[in-house]
């Protein structure tokens, strides 16, 4: 076991411990490990990593909207200060009935991240305590970070633009016309 570094040893340990509940585990690159698990065992995986492997710090809970596959992906980012290793623990949440387990008894700072995800993605965490409003005020539309929220349509419905924006010219085209230059092919896709 001496030739194994900490990352590989962690993967072997966690697969021995949780067996088929670990769906996938791999070393993404040096000092970064990715573990995919299911909803039932996420709490025990996080507790195991915190108590037995020294991942004492929850850096962030992130959320990804996979609209085409009809799921949300929650990413728990943990940090181990001795070996300086990040672990990303991922679970899937059904998009039609988005309920996820609440983990703020493991790390109390998770409460804020979970409230943010509840507000921005509409995922309910079981038994989460805290005001529903965190950043947005008086929001009565779809949660705005979902990918099927049409931001542009919302802007057009709620705000008025000063006239003059609709015929806005790309500055590069004007400059190129004046100096007789060619706009390179790679820059054209960014032109309006």
């Amino acid at each position: 076991m001496a030739d194994l570094n900490f990352e590989n040893k962690l993967i072997i340990d966690i697969q021995e411990h949780f067996r088929e509940n670990i769906i996938a585990a791999k070393v993404k690159r040096q000092k970064r490990v990715e573990i995919r698990t299911n909803r039932e065992s996420i709490e025990s995986v996080l507790l195991y990593l915190k108590e037995k492997q020294g991942f004492i710090h929850l850096a962030h809970i992130s959320c990804v909207d996979w609209m085409e596959e009809n799921r949300f992906e929650l990413v728990f980012i943990l940090w181990q200060p001795q070996e300086k290793i990040n672990v990303l623990v991922k679970i899937d949440v059904n998009r039609l009935n988005p309920v996820a387990p609440n983990i703020d008894y493991i790390w109390s700072q998770a409460n804020t991240y979970e409230r943010e995800i509840r507000e921005m993605f509409g995922i309910e965490f079981e038994g989460l305590v805290g005001r529903r409003e965190l950043i947005l005020e008086d929001w009565d539309d779809m949660p705005p970070m979902r990918r099927d929220f049409d931001t542009l349509q919302y802007v057009m419905d709620n705000y008025k633009f000063r006239s003059g924006r609709e015929d806005a010219q790309d500055v590069r085209e004007t400059i190129a016309k004046r100096t007789g230059e060619e706009i390179p092919e790679i820059a054209k896709k960014y032109s309006r």
């Binding site: 950043i135 005020e137 924006r165």
Partner: protein
């Protein structure tokens, strides 16, 4: 004494003196939104030294004459800006900083920032740029002083006269309207 004040010529003179005093003592409410507030310290400190042009910071809105909206304004902040503006004593002036207050700027397709500041509070001077440099800020203040001297910076009167129109625009964004009434 009374008939002297009612005389048209002397009221003109009094108005001139009032405007002269107002334009040479501009106190800015210490309030910053967005990224433009970072341009205020260099404007105030030794290099550009706006104090020599009679522009100074005031601690609270009730002591201030000028409200600066420095950059993008979220709907949540708009609520606080309206309350701040309505607390200020007459006469009061608003300067809109940067392209965000003019037409949304780089946040033109953001769901929670306003696109035109002029729809919600009356703006006397806009300074364009993203962000305006301290020279541009001082030029904006000079323009405001010129307008005050001529008696043209009347946004606060316009707000009182067209309060319904402003309220209508404000309440379209702020759905849960729990605000004190505008009463002076």
């Amino acid at each position: 004494m009374n008939y002297v004040l009612n005389d048209r010529e002397s009221s003109k003179i009094i108005e001139f003196i009032k405007n002269f005093a107002r334009k040479n003592s501009l106190w800015i409410a210490a309030y910053g939104t967005g990224c433009g507030a970072i341009e205020i310290p260099p404007t105030m400190t030794s290099r550009y030294d706006a104090e020599r042009l009679s522009i100074r910071g005031a601690a609270t809105p009730r002591q201030a004459d000028v409200l600066l909206i420095t950059g993008y304004l979220a709907v949540k902040t708009l609520k606080r800006v309206i309350r701040t503006y309505e607390q200020m004593q007459d006469p009061k002036y608003v300067i809109g900083f940067g392209s965000c207050t003019i037409n949304g700027g780089m946040y033109w397709d953001s769901y929670n920032t306003i696109k035109q500041l002029g729809l919600y509070i009356p703006v006397d001077v806009y300074i364009n740029g993203c962000m305006p440099r301290p020279e541009a800020v001082i030029a904006g203040f000079a323009k405001l002083q010129e307008m005050i001297g001529k008696g043209e910076a009347n946004g606060w009167k316009h707000y009182k006269e067209n309060l319904e129109w402003y309220r209508q625009n404000q309440q379209r964004l702020i759905k849960n309207w729990k605000m004190p009434d505008f009463n002076w």
